[in-house]
């Protein structure tokens, strides 16, 4: 700025190129050109060093800026809600996906439960029916003299027998059977 006229003093093109050089904005030919100028003019070297110092200071002290809220409060709230909805949507999707998976598992779960039930009942039926081939006699008593009872398992016939000796002969009389 010129203090006498109050008008902006135009920057010399070398200074503009120098700024471009410091910022790394120049192409190959421009860079060679400004370098040759700097070599010829020692004041430009000082200018270059000065500009590099300024950029270094600026780089180290970048102010922390935050984006200001939307000036329209209502719309900013709407925007916030929309963002919140967007964040919640994946959780809902996961939940619905889980429910869909569970509903797909319904038929196999039913089948498995049925198979387990049938196996359990079949096992019980097996052990209660054909599991043991013999009735187990734990005690036998007779109440007449000379009558004796012996219990045994006939492996050949596959049956338990109580063999009683000494019963009195019963003659056939009409109407007995």
């Amino acid at each position: 700025m010129n203090p006498e006229s109050g008008k902006k003093t135009p920057r010399p093109p070398e200074t503009v190129y120098l700024a471009g050089l410091v910022d790394g904005q120049l192409d190959f030919s421009q860079r060679n050109k400004i370098k040759s100028l700097v070599e010829k003019d020692p004041s430009l070297i000082d200018e270059q060093v000065e500009q590099e110092k300024i950029r270094e200071v600026l780089r180290k002290n970048i102010p922390k800026t935050t984006c200001p809220d939307n000036p329209d409060f209502f719309w900013s709230q709407v925007q916030n809600r929309l963002h919140a909805e967007k964040r919640r949507t994946p959780a809902r999707e996961v939940r619905s996906h889980l429910l869909a998976s569970l509903s797909r598992l319904w038929a196999p779960a039913f089948g498995a439960a049925l198979v387990i039930l049938l196996l359990a009942l079949g096992g019980q039926h097996f052990f209660s029916g054909n599991g043991s081939r013999f009735a187990e006699v734990s005690e036998t008593r007779t109440f007449q003299e000379h009558v004796y009872a012996t219990a045994f398992k006939s492996r050949e016939a596959g049956v338990t027998v109580i063999w009683v000796d000494g019963f009195e002969y019963i003659p056939a009389t009409p109407g007995t059977f």
């Binding site: 009942l121 009735a135 008593r141 338990t160």
Partner: protein, 148 residues
């Protein structure tokens, strides 16, 4: 909601089916076995597998059911099924576990006790008791438990 209803229903069905398996009848058959052929050919009225067991054990050729009785098994309650005019039984269930029934059985002839025995029965597993000689052969008591 289907899930909360399904498992109680399944449990109920299992209980009913298991109860059905537990419901057993006591069946007693007094078989008249002999070697002389009967005057009229008749069906012995016995299950072929059971008949084979009787034949193998006692060695008679001809068999017929002279009398039979069926009664439900009721825990700690005695039953007195009759077998013809002169024979009868007293049956008591002493308990049951895992399809095994413990029964006390008394055989009577004209109200006189001949035999008392305690036996663990399973379904369709018979017990044979050699009874007295009768007429031209022998009486054999067949006891088993079957589904109702």
């Amino acid at each position: 909601m289907k899930f909360p209803l399904f498992f109680p229903a399944l449990l109920l069905a299992a209980m009913l089916m298991t109860e059905g398996l537990h419901a057993q009848d006591f069946v007693a058959k007094l078989v008249y076995a002999r070697n002389q052929p009967p005057q009229e050919k008749s069906d012995p009225g016995l299950d072929p597998a059971l008949l084979k067991k009787i034949e193998k054990t006692f060695g008679y050729k001809y068999h017929r059911i002279a009398a039979q009785a069926r009664s439900p098994i009721t825990k700690y309650t005695a039953d007195f099924p009759r077998l013809g005019q002169d024979f009868s039984l007293k049956i008591e269930e002493l308990g049951h576990q895992d399809g095994k029934y413990r029964l006390r059985i008394n055989l009577f002839h004209k109200n006189k006790s001949l035999l008392e025995t305690t036996v663990d029965f399973r379904k369709d597993v018979p017990l044979l008791i050699r009874g007295p000689f009768y007429d031209q052969g022998e009486l054999i008591l067949v006891i088993e438990m079957t589904d109702k």
